[in-house]
C-alpha cells in the first residue's frame, strides 16, 4: 500500500515550494465563503415556518448557504492545487505593477467621510469633499483646480436634481443658501 501513496507525494513535491504559483490570499476568500454560507444557514434556522407554504422561508437560504460553503471548500482545494486567479485587465489597468492598496484605503476613507457627513453637511459640500479627496488620493496635486471642479460638480448636480428631476438632495448647512 505504500507505493501508491508515495507516488502522488513525489509528483506533488515540485509544487511544495511556496511560490507565485500559489495564490494564498485566495484561501481568505474561501474562508469568507464558508463563513457567509454558514451564517446564511444559521440565520435561516431562526425563521418561523408559516402555514400553507410547502417551501417556507428556510429552504432557499439553506440551499444557498450550503452550496456557498461547498464552493468555499472547493476553492480552498483548488487553491492548494495551484489554481491562480486571473485578475481582470482593463483600459487603465497595469497588472505588471504590484497592487497599490494604500490608494484604495485612502479612497475608502474618503468615501466613509462622505457617508458620515452627507446628512448634515449636505450633498453640495460632501460631494465636493469626495471629489477633491478622491482626486488627491489618486495622485492629483492641483488642489485649487480640483476644489473648483469639485464645487462646480456638486453644486451643479444639486441644482440639476432639484430643478430638472425633482429629487431634492439634502442642502445641509447650506440650507437656505442654495
Amino acid at each position: 500500500m505504500s507505493t501508491p501513496l508515495d507516488t502522488p507525494t513525489t509528483a506533488e513535491s515540485p509544487r511544495e515550494h511556496p511560490g507565485p504559483d500559489r495564490d494564498l490570499a485566495q484561501l481568505g476568500l474561501a474562508a469568507a465563503l464558508v463563513v457567509i454560507g454558514a451564517y446564511t444557514v444559521y440565520d435561516a434556522t431562526t425563521l418561523r415556518v408559516g402555514f400553507g407554504d410547502p417551501v417556507g422561508p428556510r429552504v432557499f437560504p439553506y440551499v444557498i448557504g450550503a452550496v456557498t460553503v461547498v464552493l468555499g471548500v472547493l476553492l480552498a482545494i483548488a487553491t492548494l492545487r495551484g489554481d491562480v486567479a486571473e485578475a481582470e485587465g482593463g483600459e487603465d489597468v497595469d497588472l505588471r505593477q504590484p497592487a497599490d492598496w494604500t490608494t484604495v484605503l485612502k479612497l475608502v476613507g474618503v468615501l466613509m467621510v462622505t457617508v458620515l457627513t452627507v446628512s448634515f453637511l449636505g450633498w453640495a459640500i460632501s460631494g465636493a469633499i469626495l471629489f477633491v479627496g478622491a482626486a488627491w488620493s489618486l495622485g492629483s496635486r492641483t488642489l485649487v483646480r480640483d476644489v473648483i471642479v469639485g464645487l462646480v460638480l456638486s453644486v451643479t448636480s444639486w441644482y440639476a436634481f432639484h430643478e430638472g428631476l425633482g429629487v431634492i438632495l439634502p442642502a445641509g448647512i447650506l440650507d437656505g443658501v442654495l
Binding site: L33, D94, L95, V104, L111, L138
Partner: protein
Amino acid sequence: MDNLSLLMDGFGSVLTPQNLLFACIGVLLGTFVGVLPGIGPAMAVALLLPVTYGLDPIGAFIMFAGIYYGGMYGGSTTSILLNTPGESASVMTALEGNLMARAGRASQALATAAIGSFIAGTIGTLLVVFFAPALASVAVEIGAPSYFALMVLAMIMVTSVLGGSPLRGFIALFLGLTIGLVGLDLNTGQPRLSFDQPLLADRIDVVVVAVGIFALGEALWVAAHLRRSPLHVIPVGRPWMDRTDLRRSWGPWLRGTAYGFPFGALPAGGAEIPTFLSYLTEKRIAKRKGVDEFGKGAIEGVAGPEAANNASAAGTFVPLLALGLPVTATSAVMLAALQGYGIEPGPGLMTDQPELVWALLASLLIGNALLLVLNLPLAPVWAKLLRIPRPQLYAGILFFAALGAYAANLQAFDLFLLVLLGLLGLAMRRFGLPVLPLVLGVILGPLMEFRLREAMAISGGEVSGLWSEPLAVVIYVVVAIAVVAPLVLRRVRPAPAAVAEELDIHTHDEEKVR
C-alpha cells in the same frame, strides 16, 4: 403586420419634441460616459440611472435607449483608439481596429464601426419587434415550474458556459443569491440576513448593487493598478469612408448581424462568441479572396465584429422583454432600471403594458439613428476625452457613483452599502470572479424563490410539481446538455481551443508591439 402598427403607435408616443430632446441627451451622455476610458456600457448605464429618476417612464425609456447604444458605441471608440477593450465583447473590434488606427485609418475604422452598429442595431431591433411578442404570447402560457426552469437555465448558461472558470462563476452566482436573500421574506414577512437593521430588511436596492459592483468596484480596482505611463492616443479626424471601404464593409456588417442576433436572443447570451465567430469568418473569406489584410488592419475585422456586438445587444431585448431574463451585464442593469419604474419584465409585460414596450422599441430605433447622426461628426471631440487626467477621471466616477446610489433613496446608509459592495467588486476583480453571475443572482434570486414557492403551492408540496410541465422537462434537458456538452467537446475536439490559442498568440504579439 399587427406588430408594425403597434410599433407605429410606439413611434407616435415617442416622437414629441421633448422626448426627442431626451433621446439626444441620452445619446450624448451615453457616448460621453462610454468613451471615457475604463467605463464599459454596463457601468455607463449604471452611472446614468439617476439622470432618469424624475422622468415619466416613456421619457426615461427613450433616454435609456440613447444611453444604451451611446455607451456601446463609446466603448468601441475607446477600443479602436487605445487598443484596450473595456469589455470582452469589444476585444475583437480592438484587434483590427487599433491596427487600422495605427496605419492612419482611424477615421475609416470609426466610420465602419458607427455605420455597422447602426445597421446591426436597426435590423436587430426590428427582429425584436417580430420575435418578442411571439415569444411573450407563448410565455404567458407557461406556468411557474417552466419559469423556474428557465431561470435555472439562464443562470447555468451565464455561469458555466460563458465564463472561463465554472467554479468562479458559481461562487459569484451564489454570492449574488445571498445578497438577494437580504430583506423581508415574501410570504411570511420575516427579515432574513438583516442583522436587525430595518434599512436592510427593506432589501438592498438593485441600483446600489449595480453601481457598487460595476462602477465603484472597477474604480477601486483601477486605483490599485493605475497605469503610470500615459497611453498613446491616436489623433482622429472626421470619420469617413470611400467606396472601396463601403464595398468591403457591407458583407461583414450583414454577416455580423446574422451571427450576433441569435446569440443575444437566446438565453445563452453574450457577445463574445458571435464577435469571435464573425472575426474568424471574415478572416477566412478575406483569405479566400486573396486580399487578406488581417493583422495589418483589415476593415472587415472591424465591421463584422462590431455589427455582431450590436446585433447581439439588440437581441438581448428578446429574453429581457419577453421572459424578464437578462443575459448580459448591460441588460441586467437595464432590468434593474425597469424595476425602478415598478415594471416587472416577464411574460406579462407585453400584455399588461404594451404601450411602454412599443415605446421602448421605438426609442431604440430612434436612439440608434440619432447615434449615427450625432456621432459621426463628433468623433474628434470624443477622442479628446481619452486624454482626461486619470485622478480627476476616477474621482469623477466615484462622485457620480455616490450620487447615483444616494439619490435613489436619499439614505446615507445606501452610501455605506455602496462602499461595502464596491469593496466586494474590488475583491471579485482581484480573484477573477465574473461580475455578471453575481448581478444575475441578485436580480433573479428573489424571482426564482417566488416561482418555486408558487409551483410547490400548486402541486401541494410535491417536488415532482417542478417537472409537471413538458416545457420544464425540455428546459432541464437543455440545462443538462449545456453542462455536459462542453466537457465532452473538450475531450473529443480540441480544435476550438487551438484556434483560441492561435488568436491568443496574435493578441500577445500586439502587446509586444505596443
